[in-house]
Point group: C2
Chain length 141, copies 2
């Protein structure tokens, strides 16, 4: 298995509601219909898909709740870039989960939840500077 | 918010067990200690981190179970490349969730679960051919 990830699919209760959230944050879908939306990112994609149908596709029971055990991190270029993303997420209808703060590993981060409670960390990581391209490498280039 | 994702963190019950699984699949960590492992992928990274500590970092209750509402997809270059990944995942200690089969959107896919039940879809998607680089774009380049 090569070291890559092609798509993260987020199961959602209401695709138009989830789309409205990500598009209010400035994302442009590559394709969409009433039942799905897909965003091309760097070398991969994020898809929004009905939660029950996603479980059905994987042939697992759809029941589940609480902490998903998965977080998505969006890294920014400077410490000062963290707080404005939280503000944008709140304006788009997201829920603030953790206010921006310095963290033990030397960075600065915050968390918000999208309308389906998928957790996003917004982080400035001084150990992995993010170039103009937005490409992230753990430990830097 | 720019259109990118820097890190997917998978909360796990036992970091060495989770590492052993991904490394048996051929992944090489960029950095690791007994409490964490991180793999650089294309323009992003996947981290393994203790599930309870991940919840604590996000300041959310750690309880949760059932379907997480998130799936990770690994796309391959040909239909014939799907089944061998399932075989490798089983050999590494993964659980087969859905056998390889043709699917309604014209592709061919299967699902396995890692030791912490994170769901991976292995898919051949004829609408998004994967070049030598492994870069994925929804709808193709």
């Amino acid at each position: 298995m090569e070291q890559r990830l092609s798509v993260v699919t987020l199961g959602v209760r209401d695709v138009p509601r989830a789309r409205a959230f990500y598009e209010a944050l400035g994302w442009q879908p590559k394709s969409t219909d009433e039942n799905m939306a897909c965003y091309n990112l760097i070398g991969m994609a994020i898809a929004l898909y009905p939660r029950d149908e996603l479980a059905e596709d994987a042939q697992v029971p759809p029941e589940g709740g609480g902490f998903s055990g998965v977080t998505l991190a969006y890294c920014v270029r400077t410490k000062q870039d963290v707080a404005p993303v939280l503000k944008a997420a709140r304006a788009a209808g997201g829920r603030i989960v953790k206010q921006a703060q310095d963290v033990s590993w030397g960075g600065h981060s915050e968390y918000f939840a999208d309308p389906d409670r998928h957790l996003w960390e917004v982080a400035w990581n001084p150990h992995s500077p993010l170039g103009d391209t937005g490409v992230f490498q753990w430990g830097g280039a």
